[in-house]
C-alpha cells in the first residue's frame, strides 16, 4: 500500500500556476543554495592554505565569471529569503487567499531582484 503512494508534487498532473512554479523554484533554489554554502565553506577553508595558494581563487573571483557568480548567488539568496518569509506568513495562517497568494508570489519574484540590487549596493558601499 505504502509503496504505491504517489510521490509529490505531481508535476505532470496539475496545470501550472504561479504558486506551483514558486514552490518548485523554492525547492530547486534551496538545493542550489545548500550546494553554494558548501562551496563557500570550501572557500573559507582554503584561506588556511596561505596567500600563495589563494591566488587561483582570487583570479577567479576578480574575473567576469566571479562577478556573475556572486550576483547570481545574491539573487538566489534573496529569492530564498523572501520565499521563506512568504512560507512563514503562511505558517502563521495568513495569505492563503488565491489573490493574496498571487500578489505575494509576484512580490517574491520582483522583490528578489530589488533585494539583489540592494545587497550589491550595500556590499559595494554605494549607498
Amino acid at each position: 500500500m505504502y509503496e504505491k503512494n504517489p510521490l509529490s508534487p505531481h508535476l505532470q498532473i496539475y496545470r501550472w500556476h504561479l504558486s506551483m512554479i514558486l514552490s518548485i523554484a523554492h525547492r530547486i533554489i534551496g538545493v542550489v543554495n545548500s550546494i553554494a554554502i558548501v562551496l563557500i565553506c570550501l572557500w573559507t577553508i582554503s584561506l588556511l592554505f596561505g596567500e600563495e595558494n589563494y591566488e587561483i581563487i582570487k583570479i577567479l573571483f576578480q574575473s567576469l565569471f566571479g562577478k556573475i557568480l556572486v550576483i547570481s548567488l545574491s539573487w538566489s539568496f534573496s529569492f530564498h529569503i523572501l520565499s521563506e518569509i512568504r512560507h512563514l506568513i503562511w505558517d502563521l495562517g495568513y495569505g492563503f487567499d488565491l489573490k493574496i497568494s498571487k500578489i505575494t508570489g509576484i512580490i517574491t519574484i520582483v522583490g528578489s531582484l530589488a533585494l539583489t540590487v540592494l545587497i550589491y549596493l550595500l556590499g559595494k558601499n554605494l549607498i
Binding site: N33, I37, V38, C41, T44, E51, I119, N125
Partner: protein, 108 residues
C-alpha cells in the same frame, strides 16, 4: 511531541534565525569576495564575523539538511536508499560546518 512536529519546529526556528544571517553574510560576501587574501582573512578574523559566520553555518546546515531530507522523502521511493541518503546528509551537515568553523576560529 511527535517526531515530525519537532522536525517542523526546528526547520521554522532555523529559518527565522537564517533570514537575517543570510542577509548579513551575502552583503559581506559582495563586499569582500574580490578583495586580497589579507582583506578576507582580516574580515574573518574579527570576533563578530567569527560568531555571526559560525551561527550562519549552524542555522544554514540545520535548515538545509532538514529541508533536503523532505525532498528525499518526496522523491526517493526505495526506503533503504532514502534512509542511507538521509543519514549521509545529516553526517555531511555536521562535518562540513564543524571543519569550517574550526578553520575560521584558527584564523588570526
Amino acid at each position: 511531541m511527535h517526531h515530525s512536529t519537532k522536525k517542523w519546529l526546528v526547520v521554522k526556528f532555523s529559518s527565522i534565525i537564517l533570514i537575517p544571517l543570510m542577509f548579513w553574510f551575502v552583503v559581506n560576501l559582495v563586499s569582500i569576495y574580490d578583495e586580497s587574501y589579507i582583506e578576507i582573512v582580516n574580515f574573518f578574523s574579527t570576533t563578530s564575523s567569527k560568531a555571526l559566520y559560525s551561527l550562519f553555518l549552524i542555522a544554514a546546515f540545520s535548515f538545509f539538511s532538514l529541508t533536503i531530507s523532505e525532498v528525499f522523502e518526496d522523491y526517493i521511493k526505495n526506503e533503504k536508499t532514502k534512509n542511507v541518503a538521509t543519514k549521509m546528509l545529516y553526517v555531511f551537515a555536521i562535518i562540513i560546518p564543524l571543519i569550517t568553523i574550526s578553520s575560521i576560529l584558527s584564523l588570526n
